[in-house]
Symmetry: C2
Subunit: 513 residues, 2 copies
């Protein structure tokens, strides 16, 4: 295998963090903007996010949730009202204090002291406050419930140390906000959103995840329950890829979301919120990327098939382009994974080989090269991004009749979609240790000299309050965190690793992003 | 006609501005948020915007333009660099000066003086600055051109007096930004975007518009040419519904967008920008709304057909709901205007008649009521929103066999789409006066006692500089503005109304939003 000349300069096993940065750049996903903590999402990266939006939005709408749009700004006073919310939330956020610029007399501009806002505005870090305010107006009677809302928006949380897609000051997300008459209804919605995220991750992103409940210390501030989906990255760390919160009645109380029940009494609504962000793009990279760049699952690939004509800048080019255009059209007329196949004919100037590696790094699922001789013979040369190399270390082109390729394209794409999932799923299952029975064994499993140890699923007694805090501190010393209590975990047996008490459930422990 | 009991309390002819506000509220489009100048876009209003996005985005992608995403914030220093840009642009904008809150010791929060930004950040009012900066990195060679980018984003321009959808401090839009090797290429892109907007407005929104070039005084600051589409509202005022700018090389110079040409020389790129915003929703209301609320063209209606079962809260309801669900499914399986029909079965509690008027005010194109007897007879009662009343002043229900309705639904929707356009087009053409030959006649046409005078298309000599400023002042005294020089206007004849010189082209004059 040493013969392979990979398309990236850094390998995952040598320096995962540096490898990640190289993929983001080499796959043309994003770059630093020059604005502190904010990134520019480039067309290929944004195209993947658009595909994620399209597929998740369809799931959101199918559940009867309606999209709406709420203001970017929150008046400081409204924000303060939600005391519990504010207490737990980081106070690192962008504060607008002026609404006009004036000349500084030296050719520059400064905030106009005359245009200082009476009350500063916060750029939304999340929209519970502002949407709760609207809900308090929209909900009057039990007939108005459930109220199921979602918005796609940008939010800002001032971050000191940023990493593209994983932690940026501004990021894009969807935030669902719902109000219900009863606890049961709201909890059912919390679980529906969680299951929606699980299915979205597994089916659309080929991303195996574990859905479960967060322990008390990891709850969204003010929430009664927080649930998450957790994905394992190739360095064994966990990434929280989506959360769903049952907020109880505390947010409804702060915002005044009350309704008249069927008997005429006044009741507080039960609310939920749930979100998935551009962080998911980072999860995609760290799950499916390899030493040649990104591999995009076909369902979210902006282009599923890229056709590269081997142009020679001579008279033969016109016929070759026409041949490739006919190939493009016949592929685009087909359906794969429930949608028309997205196929690009890349006839930009430059050598085909250079463009091939460009698309390998970006992770287009299928790359098709067509030269003049292929055209004459009615053939194409097909490179599957998920099986890039021969055993001899050469690009593993399949030469096949054009008609066969077209006829099989949809099945091939579906096979890549499933194959990426199977690969990631097998890797995760090989790296979750479920047999650890003592804290010492846990510490040993995550010993400093073990590079990518994976996760441990261990029995615990679900301590709360100060007892939980003490456990969290012990984990923190080992740079470990609780992830969640998996919905599908086996029954708890034996003693809690942390308290020695009889275990009541099993919880995941891991290093995390 | 006096027998009609309209669904709104205010008629267009009585108070157009108040009528507009009532439609926005009664059609459940948007409301004040409590945050100065920002609105909440409610699900029905946002659903229309989502439909606009979907259709315009497809046109943008079909032209080879790629979506990307750029930061919300612009460092003040970058902003100042574009001197011409800053000079003309309103300096009313949101300024971020702090990145953290701290307790004020009295239970509140204040911006932390320790967390004052060294350089304030502007919340983007438009993104020429930030996208130009990226283009300067991405464009190196002639091979990188054209660079065709678009982003869907929120922008903020601090407004003192706001009107929902028409002028709000935060609004949603798309902004296209492109860079080209030559003036010809950039001007061709400017005209392509203009034609894209014209077709989008006319075909998707049933909105007749006049495309043309803005006079010098109405140009985007720093632009070489500004083109617009202008739509006539039902009060005769003009609304600029989209703009496309050829920016010359001045923005490229400010941002440093240079490329190496085929001969190895360094050249400045020619850039364009073009945008359409949520203002388009306001245009839709003021073009298609009537005294019963909004009428949404089927292509952008979130729901094209609403089925209302006349439930009696008895044992018969289950069969009626099943009948309506089968009707819904058979409609949803059909294609209208190139997409699956969007149909809603509204089985919320409450009387069918109340819900009928709810959907009339929202402007759903077709409302179908089904009672137990209709079910037995295999019939439905259909109300076309574009032909709501009989001559006798009753809701004009068509009772027809269910199968006929289903078979004709797609054709009916297409007919409503065309009918709304034809109605608006006829109204506009009846209200553009092309025979005015003197400034006095122009002033008379727009005399204060004429309620909704419409537009005047007049010959002019295309004055520039101070001569133009003087003309603009005279118009301003009459509350009039130049709209554009229509692409399709007839040849100029006679003397300029404003300067007396020989006319060179014809220009539209109107009151405007």
């Amino acid at each position: 295998m040493s013969a392979i000349r990979h398309a990236l300069s850094i390998k995952r096993q040598d320096d995962f963090a540096q490898w990640y940065q190289e993929v983001v750049a080499a796959a043309d996903m994003a770059e630093e903007s020059g604005v502190r903590g904010c990134m520019v999402i480039k067309p290929w990266g944004y195209g993947i996010w658009e595909r994620m939006q399209r597929l998740l939005d369809a799931r959101i709408k199918a559940a009867g949730v309606q999209n709406a749009y709420f203001p970017l700004f929150i008046p400081l006073g409204n924000f303060v009202r939600e005391a519990a919310h504010v207490e737990g939330f980081a106070k690192e956020m962008a504060v607008v204090t002026h609404h006009r610029l004036i000349s500084d007399g030296k050719g520059g501009l400064i905030p106009d002291p005359e245009a200082k806002l009476e009350e500063p505005l916060i750029v939304r870090p999340t929209s519970e406050t502002i949407i709760g305010d609207a809900m308090s107006r929209w909900v009057q009677s039990w007939r108005d419930l459930p109220l199921l809302l979602n918005q796609w928006a940008n939010v800002v949380r001032w971050e000191m140390r940023t990493r593209m897609f994983l932690r940026t000051s501004e990021f894009l997300w969807q935030e669902g906000h719902t109000a219900h008459a009863t606890r049961d209804d709201a909890r059912a919605e919390t679980m529906r959103a969680l299951e929606m995220y699980r299915a979205f991750a597994e089916d659309d992103l080929s991303l195996p995840v574990i859905a479960g409940e967060k322990p008390e210390n990891e709850r969204f501030p003010g929430a009664a329950e927080t649930w998450s989906i957790e994905a394992m990255m190739q360095d064994g760390k966990a990434l929280q890829a989506g959360t769903s919160h049952y907020l109880g009645t505390s947010f409804a109380e702060a915002a005044g979301i009350r309704y008249q029940d069927r008997e005429g009494g006044q009741q507080l609504a039960h609310t939920t919120s749930w979100g998935v962000s551009t962080r998911m793009v980072g999860a995609l990279i760290m799950t499916h990327g390899d030493d040649d760049g990104l591999r995009v699952p076909p369902a979210v690939a902006p282009q599923q098939i890229v056709i590269l004509p081997m142009l020679r800048e001579d008279d033969g080019d016109a016929a070759l382009l026409a041949y490739c255009e006919a190939l493009r059209a016949s592929l685009a007329g087909q359906t794969a994974l429930g949608e028309p196949i997205r196929v690009l004919l890349d006839s930009r100037p430059g050598k085909a080989a250079a463009r091939r590696w460009d698309w390998v790094r970006r992770g287009a699922p299928l790359i098709v090269e067509v030269g003049p001789r292929d055209m004459t013979e009615g053939k194409v040369a097909v490179l599957r991004r998920d099986r890039l190399w021969t055993e001899a270390g050469k690009p593993d082109f399949a030469f096949m009749p054009r008609e066969s390729f077209v006829a099989e394209a949809a099945i091939t794409l579906a096979s890549i979609q499933q194959g990426l999932h199977a690969e990631a799923h097998a890797r995760r299952e090989a790296n979750v240790e479920r047999g650890i029975a003592s804290f010492e064994a846990l510490a040993d499993f995550f010993a400093a000299d073990k590079r990518y140890p994976g996760w441990a699923e261990v029995p615990w007694a679900r301590p709360t309050g100060a007892a939980l805090d003490a456990v969290v501190e012990r984990l923190k010393a080992l740079k470990l965190t609780f992830r969640n209590v998996p919905l599908g975990a086996g029954p708890a047996e034996g003693a809690c690793l942390f308290t020695g008490e009889p275990a009541v459930e099993r919880i995941l422990v891991a290093r995390a992003y």
